[in-house]
Symmetry: C2
């Protein structure tokens, strides 16, 4: 067990500086190893969130008596069949989500991985109540035609301050699905321009006429290659690349676009390195075959660093480097979908930083924790050759871009990417211990070294998620059997302890 | 000329009540008729917006010396080739948009028809600075899973308070394109459910497997029928129904969906009633033929009450009643796209209220002036038979729904729909006079009785728009040759006078 304690990284000076905020005693996960690890910070850990509840509070069943009539009222006007919990955000704080019945849950689902720095975060509140935000809300511009005077400044000090390596421009959007579709459009225009012989070549009369009839050559038969189990959104273009579950796709017309196999790796990845490498090689070969032979030629591939909605599937950095190599070789763009993985959750700001790519992705899409959306790019050729080709009324939203700037500020001030890497390692080790004790409950544990982006398979997943709620923990699932942890960036060891203790309670019962 | 003055409706008591706000003298359009009309309100008119500039101010060329470097800076990180004017929203007010050089323009384009009640509107500012708004911004929920406790209340007192007749539910989204695609998805699921034999019939194994391969029967070959010159957005599904201009569609793969002819009416509509009726009959027949014979069967039609982006094309109420009849007859849904026409601009809250339909549209989509988006519906069968079929992470945005509620409040308090009907009639009559004087400059004037939703064709459209800017008026175009007026709902006679005087100045020169 001593090796466990040694492997837990120390809290960095930057995180320790946050001790100006209220320090709460760590509720240590009750094992000797964890206790030893906690001792490294003297048994307490500076809290990254002021005035957070000390732990979950469960007063009633969920939904409780105050909530039930509110749900009935909502059901009359808005579909509530996917309702998980009706929340009272006024009473929610940091990692804790509250409801009208006074129940307070540790939230490791965080609005499907989209809350970055805690409910009612003070830094965000400051930004949200600034005159700048008020103006952005009430004077929403059509950014392509009438951008506000400080739009460059908002981008430079916000969205672009954290641009992935190799990217220095952005096209902003409103959701992950939107971001991906905009990237697809950029890819298609780029590919046809290349085929046509360059940006200076004018469209033919035939292209213009046929485009209006949704027919070739104006509307080309190009495709986007995606991967089995991938999820990229639910609009018509993005849904055509989504391959997560039938319920997402049934009855919706889709484009005839190719899907490559995503490696079905065994976990932990390092323990099955040789087997996994062979599986990844198989997938790379099939990807290359599809890229070069599919009847609707791919202009780009899109891939998530960790397939999230589709079941938290991981692959090795070597696999992604292989994809970069193949796409470069065949002059096909590589779009990395960081909608769920981006903004710190994997212990790097962008998950693809784990890969050590020889050349950057062509486009990186983002949303969720960024609270805004869009695609980053660096190559000027990805700007279409004429204005109004990539265009829409709002083209993003300055209000949400201002919010992302505040989120970045908070991440930097509290060193939250590092915090997530450290807390993730601690949590993963705690889960490994639970796995040893309850090998049937935790299968294929995955996400080692990927911050808090951790998941495992459970033979009784839905029951575990439901029981977690009864003991004050809000957890989500993904794929067919995965328990998916997607806490915020302010998730710390004492929260991990509560989660681990709670899971053990469920497994023991 | 006396008939002109008589035909101008009187300002209603509700509008007159707004005189608590600062009353500014009307800058009358300099014709005897207009002067006579203005006399009806004693030469002054209560201003609907407090502290609005008295008129345009032009200090420099646009862009001026302060703005140019700001554009250069923005261009490095964001495509500015479609930039029309870089705005300073801090200095903009009511109907007037300002820039960094101190230029102040009367804005009858209003962010592509999306600003409803003026820049820096006080009622909106109050909503934007409320604690409720701050919470909505910093605690953004995944509305399908964790809606906030007062989501029903926000909907009932806002979006649904103005629901079109026959609609009592809403599915919220984030943009017009999003709203239309969500409506398409609802239509496809409804149609397949019907074909399958009802909501209780389970999906077959074959459907589930084929859906994952984007193939039939799981991904059906259904279509949405749209109309030539229509515009419904620029994502992959919505763009497949958009038929405005090649530049919107070139190089983007599209679904093989049918387009029906939209009536090419002659204006004014009433003057060519017989000819137009014949043209509409032809279009209805061709629509019915496509609905019943197209190889990819339509689940729905989508149509704008006035084709906006495609050139401001009007048709008669009888045409739309005919469409409702045909769609009912063949059990195909009718989606009315009120993204640009909705929220008062045509002198009714929803433009389709002009039609006197025998049964309501199946879905009505909205965005732009609503500052939020979604589709209204009334038929419970349009809720798919299982949860998570119509779903995405955010499913709209409470912050923008709260803003729409404030917009509705302002519209009701100031009776802005009526104001728009009255001002529109006044403006239209002024334009008719200009047309008589400059018949070559104003051709096919259209939008009579449609509030301020007015347009005409100009043989030198782009030149007129450019010149308008130099004299302090911001106007947009649509289609190939149309000058499109799309002022805010607080646009009044004294603004119309400035516009009419400005146009005459351009025509005279």
């Amino acid at each position: 067990m001593a090796s466990f304690a040694r492997s837990v990284p120390k809290v960095s000076p930057a995180v320790a500086r946050a001790s100006a905020r209220v320090a709460v005693p760590s509720r240590k996960y009750a094992t000797a190893a964890a206790a030893a690890a906690a001792t490294a910070t003297n048994g307490t850990e500076p809290s990254l969130f002021h005035n957070e509840p000390a732990g979950p509070v469960i007063r009633t069943q969920i939904p409780g008596p105050q909530t039930k009539p509110a749900i009935d009222r909502l059901e009359k006007v808005f579909d509530t069949r996917s309702l998980n919990m009706m929340a009272d955000y006024r009473a929610s704080s940091g990692n804790y989500i509250a409801d009208l019945d006074g129940n307070v849950l540790l939230d490791v689902y965080a609005q499907i991985a989209s809350i970055p720095v805690g409910y009612n975060n003070a830094t965000l509140l400051k930004a949200a109540t600034s005159p700048e935000m008020a103006s952005a809300i009430i004077n929403r511009p059509a950014l392509g035609n009438f951008p506000q005077h400080d739009w460059a400044e908002i981008l430079e000090t916000g969205i672009l301050k954290v641009a992935p390596k190799g990217c220095n421009q952005v096209f902003t959007g409103q959701s992950g699905s939107d971001a991906n579709e905009l990237a697809f459009k950029a890819a298609f225009m780029w590919k046809r321009q290349q085929q046509r012989g360059g940006a200076h070549v004018e469209f033919t009369e035939e292209e213009m006429l046929s485009s209006m009839n949704n027919a070739q050559p104006g509307a080309p038969n190009f495709s986007i290659l995606s991967f089995k189990s991938g999820f990229h959104g639910r609009m018509f273009g993005s849904l055509s690349t989504t391959r997560s579950k039938p319920i997402h796709k049934l009855d919706i017309p889709a484009f005839d676009w190719p899907q490559a196999p995503f490696p079905m790796c065994k976990y932990p990845l390092d323990q099955y390195a040789a087997e996994n490498a062979a599986e990844e090689k198989r997938c790379l070969e099939e990807t290359e075959r599809l890229l070069t032979t599919y009847h609707n030629p791919p202009a780009a591939i899109i891939i998530e660093p960790v397939q999230s909605e589709g079941g938290d599937n991981h692959a090795s950095p070597a696999f992604f480097r292989g994809l970069r190599e193949i796409t470069k070789k065949h002059d096909i763009l590589m779009i990395v979908d960081e909608v769920q993985t981006g903004v710190g959750a994997t212990g790097k700001f962008w998950a693809h930083e784990h890969w050590d790519l020889p050349t950057p992705p062509d486009m990186v899409t983002f949303s969720k924790k960024a609270q805004t959306a869009g695609y980053y790019f660096g190559n000027n050729e990805l700007r279409p050759n004429k204005p109004y080709r990539q265009f829409n009324t709002w083209m993003g939203d300055p209000a949400r871009a201002i919010l992302f700037r505040a989120i970045i500020e908070e991440i930097e001030a509290l060193n939250l990417v590092e915090n997530t890497a450290i807390t993730g390692d601690y949590l993963y080790q705690g889960l490994e211990q639970l796995q040893q004790k309850y090998p049937n409950e935790i299968q294929s544990l995955r996400g080692k070294g990927q911050g808090t982006f951790i998941a495992w398979d459970s033979p009784r997943r839905d029951e575990v998620l439901a029981k977690a709620k009864t003991i004050g923990i809000n957890i989500g699932g993904s794929g067919a059997a995965a328990v998916r942890l997607r806490p915020m960036l302010i998730f710390q060891r004492h929260h991990a302890d509560i989660l681990l203790e709670g899971l053990e309670k469920i497994f023991k019962a």
